[in-house]
């Protein structure tokens, strides 16, 4: 019962999960109600002659390619089958049906040569037979997709010139056959047939079509033959050239190539179409063709569908709440856990389920796709937009992305609509490679999102007319942004407002399968193992894979094997791997690769040891040389290599590593000193050596290298301190010391010298010995340009530190701090140093101009004399005042004057100079010039206590 429930639950879940895709499927069918998509093209073929098809064969548009295509796309296992190789020109890329072998009997159409005469009759029948099963079939394939690549074959219906069926449930009685087992466990048998019999077919057929056979050979055929011959000549020449160029590469490869070119005489036929990139040629045209992760695809589609309400005015279908189903099959604990911690996918789902805003727009107006290059982000965006019924407007990195232009483009894309087109689709703006856009452009994009938001509030209150006007500016179209690096600083504000979708890696099996299809269509031979190797080599980069294939193909290589894939360095992208991943790869042994299906098991195994090492070496060399940041890389190695698990007890590995580092350092020096850049090619060997020395199976924990930077800043700091110290040292001393000598020999001892034991008391109280000591200390400090500077610690305490802080220069971390002078002593020293310095400056100045100083001295002497003669300053002033005032205001002051009257004794003793006028003297006596004056003691109690003994009293 439980099991049943669970099964049921899963199915329900499935329905939910793939609801969108099912919807898509339903829509697709709605779009072509009369027949399957295939039939459209079939219909066209009626009006089209074969010649046209041939002529336009190089332009693989739907109409031309599809009108005659006995293509059979079979599972990769069958690929070795020569007979299935299709004629190169007869490819069809657009329509790829998913075929299930259990339906094989039904699907396989009753093919016959007459198919061209009556395609309209045949194909509807086919589509009819297919369509009822269709949702189920796709459902199953979609379900299986992730599990195994083999099951998700992008099959097109097979046809055969012979009336036999290709796929049979039982082994055929006559002829060769291949057994194929699909993932569901069904075994079917494929007939083998000879290819040769097919070759004359079209021509003969065309003859019959032409009817009027005036020439023995139809003109088209003649033309074709001529063209072919010419082409072959060109190709032979070009091949010779490539051979010449490649002669140095690999003799084995070359031989193979030659053999290939020898065998495949008709390779020239392909080259006409090779002008077009396979990547474009085989780019997916439909949602179901997409190779990228299903979840991502679905999320983006869902997000885009959220816009339906505002863009198309369609109502959103309410979904049954997922919570109702879940409790049926998840146990309580599991449920709790899932409620507490939401997985990322759940979060994403939640975002998508979120309510629309007041304009019925989704909460996030921008979708931001991120992921490494070549995963099909742009393709996905285009296809989904197209699929959801939008007209795609793309802004690319190659476009001008200045702020104004960007604004203009956004406005055009989001607010305008093509009027001329037959079907006026709304626009969907795709901004590709937005991480390369300047910050200003991104701000404009944000403003487009936000400014409208702020206006919403106003709008609700505004009148209708205004509303209409403003409504135009509200963003009502979806925008999809695509970037490689999500964490570019410029994108930071956008990240918060965007619906983020990170692209996971393409599943290698799916990619390999797609590659297999392509190789087969192009007439190449490759087994799954090889293709898987290619996938791995390119890090599942679809574009890179296909480009590599095309490259190999254009070199004339028809047989792909693992060795050629490995030996070709084309597949490797010029990608920038992050430093961390490079370090990781250096310090980690690659995981043991599973043996490839195609590779010979024994030979590969035996070779594995040394070859693996060599490969690893090559790999690291390539990795490092492509990275380019040699210095940083080396620093990372240096910082991290000791934390690796070293196995040798004798530390020989460490020594070797250090030797290597020394070597690298020497190289670097050589390069930078002599501009001898040819030596740079030896840089990558250091990481390679490290890889061989230290690589382990465990995942290394790698820290970003800081030690160099720290050491560098410390060195700078030290140097600055030393330079500051050296600069002001008097030349007499300076010429004896160098910076290194100062640093290594002098300072540590000097620091001891300048911290003598001094009593923390007023220097006035020092004994002469102590004074001498202090003087010596200050002398030393001045001569070595040291002083103490008051500094405020973060805790708010004041301390005195050495001014060029050379203490740090000689202080090793971890050692106990040296004895410090007390705060008071340092303060004292600082002050005395300052004073002494000033004194010396003055002395130096005096020495510079001795005459002046003499004069000054004389002046000073004079002054002192004057001072001696006259009384004190304030007195003088008062006297003057009195003198001046007395003359004017004599009568007023007479009360003072009278007061002076008894001038019996003291007057004579005072200064003689003042006694000019009698009256003046008197008054001066009274107020300014009295013999006794009063000194006020502010706030001081000078009470004197004195012991009085009785004996003194007696």
């Amino acid at each position: 019962m439980d099991e049943y429930d669970e099964m049921y639950g899963i199915e329900d879940d499935f329905e939910q999960q793939f609801a969108d895709e099912l919807e898509v499927m339903a829509e697709m069918e709605r779009e072509h109600p009369t027949s399957a998509k295939v039939s459209e093209f079939r219909k066209k073929s009626i009006s089209q002659t074969f010649e046209e098809a041939i002529v336009s064969g190089d332009v693989p548009l739907r109409k031309s390619v599809n009108n005659h295509c006995p293509e059979s796309i079979s599972p990769p296992v069958v690929e070795e089958e020569e007979s299935l190789t299709p004629k190169p020109k007869k490819r069809r890329q657009d329509v790829a049906k998913k075929l299930q072998f259990e339906n094989g009997d039904d699907i396989t159409p009753p093919s016959s040569p007459e198919v061209y005469d009556r395609p309209a009759r045949d194909w509807p029948g086919f589509s009819l037979s297919l369509s009822p099963d269709r949702p189920e079939a796709t459902k199953i394939t979609a379900n299986v997709l992730d599990i195994s690549g083999l099951a998700t074959l992008q099959e097109s219906p097979k046809r055969d010139s012979a009336a036999r069926r290709h796929v049979q449930k039982r082994p055929p009685a006559i002829g060769d056959y291949i057994t194929v087992t699909d993932s569901m466990g069904n075994r079917v048998y494929l007939n083998k047939k000879e290819d040769e019999e097919k070759v004359p077919d079209p021509r003969a057929f065309r003859n019959s079509l032409n009817g009027l056979g005036l020439l023995a050979v139809p003109i088209e055929v003649l033309k074709e033959q001529i063209a072919e011959r010419r082409h072959r000549q060109v190709m032979e020449e070009s091949q010779r050239l490539t051979e010449l160029m490649n002669s140095g590469i690999d003799s084995e490869l070359l031989a193979e190539e030659q053999a290939d070119s020898g065998v495949d005489g008709d390779s020239g036929e392909d080259e006409g179409s090779s002008s077009r990139l396979w990547v474009d040629q085989f780019s997916p045209q439909h949602y179901t063709d997409l190779l990228s992760d299903d979840f991502t695809n679905r999320c983006l589609l869902k997000w885009l569908k959220l816009w339906d309400t505002v863009v198309f005015g369609r109502e959103r279908k309410p979904r049954s709440a997922p919570a109702d189903v879940r409790p049926n099959f998840t146990n309580a604990q599991n449920q709790n856990q899932s409620q507490r911690f939401k997985t990322k996918s759940q979060m994403t789902e939640e975002i998508l389920e979120a309510e629309l805003d007041q304009y019925k727009r989704p909460k996030f107006k921008v979708a931001l796709l991120s992921g490494p290059p070549g995963l099909g982000k742009t393709t996905l965006a285009h296809i989904i937009a197209k699929h959801a019924g939008y007209n795609v407007v793309e802004i690319n990195a190659s476009d001008d992305r200045s702020a104004e232009l960007f604004q203009k483009r956004i406005d055009t894309a989001t607010q305008m609509k093509s009027v001329l087109g037959a079907n006026e689709k709304p626009n969907c703006l795709i901004i590709d490679e937005i991480d390369g856009a300047p910050a200003a452009a991104i701000n404009i994009l944000l403003a487009t999102l936000n400014r409208k938001d702020s206006k919403e509030g106003e709008e609700s209150g505004a009148n209708a007319l205004k509303k209409k006007k403003k409504k135009q500016s509200v963003l009502l179209r979806p925008i999809i942004c695509i970037c490689n690096d999500l964490y570019v600083p410029a994108l930071r504000p956008l990240r918060q407002q965007a619906f983020l979708l990170a692209f996971p890696q393409t599943v290698p099996s799916r990619l390999a399968q797609r590659l297999a299809e392509i190789t087969r269509r192009q007439g190449m031979k490759a087994d799954t193992g090889t293709l898987m190797a290619l996938c791995e080599k390119t890090d599942n980069d679809i574009r890179s894979c296909i480009n590599t294939l095309q490259f190999l193909h254009s070199r004339g290589q028809k047989h792909l094997d693992q060795r050629s894939v490995n030996s070709v360095s084309v597949g490797l992208k010029d990608q920038n791997k992050g430093l961390f991943s490079v370090w990781q790869e250096i310090f980690q042994l690659p995981r043991l690769k599973r043996k490839r299906i195609g590779g010979d098991p024994f030979g590969g195994f035996n070779e594995a040891g040394p070859k693996d090492g060599a490969q690893r070496l090559q790999h690291i060399l390539h990795l490092v040389s492509s990275n380019g940041e040699h210095e940083k890389l080396t620093q990372g190695l240096y910082d991290n290599f000791l934390s690796m698990k070293l196995k040798d007890p004798g530390m020989l590995g460490v020594c070797t590593g250090l030797d290597w580092l020394c070597f690298s350092d020497l190289l670097n020096e050589c390069v930078l000193h002599g501009q001898n850049y040819s030596l740079m090619r030896y840089f990558p060997f250091l990481p390679a050596a490290f890889h061989h020395l230290y690589a382990a199976n465990s995942v290394p924990r790698i820290n970003y290298p800081h030690s160099h930077y720290e050491a560098f800043t410390k060195t700078q700091h030290t140097k600055n301190a030393l330079v500051a110290m050296l600069n002001d040292i008097p030349p007499a001393i300076q010429n004896r010391i160098s910076m290194s000598g100062l640093c290594l020999d002098i300072i540590s001892l000097l620091l001891e010298l300048i911290s003598p034991k001094l009593r923390p008391v007023n220097p006035q109280l020092y004994s002469t010995r102590e004074k001498q000591q202090l003087y010596d200390l200050i002398d030393t400090m001045i001569n070595y340009n040291l002083t103490y500077r008051q500094d405020r610690t973060p805790e708010g305490q004041y301390t005195y530190v050495l001014e060029p802080n050379v203490e740090d220069v000689v202080h090793f971390p971890g050692l106990p701090p040296r004895r410090q002078l007390t705060y008071q002593v340092k303060q004292l020293i600082a002050r005395e140093t300052e004073l002494e310095r000033m004194r010396r400056m003055e002395k130096a100045k005096q020495k510079q101009n001795p005459q002046k100083t003499e004069a000054v001295n004389k002046d000073q002497e004079k002054k002192t004399e004057v001072k001696k003669q006259t009384s004190r300053n304030h007195q003088q002033r008062l006297e003057n005042i009195v003198k001046q005032t007395v003359v004017e205001s004599r009568p007023e002051l007479d009360f003072f004057g009278r007061a002076i009257v008894p001038k019996e004794k003291p007057v004579v003793t005072t200064t003689s100079e003042d006694g000019k006028g009698g009256g003046v003297v008197h008054i001066g006596k009274a107020v300014g010039n009295s013999d006794v004056w009063f000194r006020f003691n502010e706030g001081v109690s000078n009470a004197v206590r004195r012991n009085v003994y009785i004996r003194e009293l007696l």
């Binding site: 003057n880 005042i881 007395v886 003072f896 107020v927 004056w933």
Partner: protein, 154 residues
Amino acid sequence: MVQIIISSKAGEGPAEWLLVELQGEMVSRQNTGLAGNLMGDLHYTKEFGLNMETDKMLKTLLYLFTYGKFLICPLSKGVPVLIVGHHILYGKQVKLEKPFAVLMKHSGLPQNEDDAMETNQENPTFYTVSALIKKKLIFKTRPKPIITNVPKKV
């Protein structure tokens, strides 16, 4: 037991002096010492309040005899004002909690110090009260400078 005899003159009774207490010190300008110099003028204002009008009648001349000792004259009412040099001080009159007596020592010792010990016992020294001090004038405010007439330009 040490006995010190203090006697007063019979009949008239001791004179009453005033103690002048200054916060500060008197300094001789020419380092000639204070003795014999005119110290300043002591006045009393007529009313309470800091009026500069002083009663000339109550004006007393103070002479310094020795450092720290004043010869004090009549009692009066009002605020005492002391003018020393170019300073003017305002004070107040306070009654002493414990009155002082000014004693004169009459030593019984002969002037030569050799036989001090012997003579000590023979003739005890005695004191005579020359004056009593019951009140003091205390000047503890900051002195104000006397600026006679400030000319417009110095």
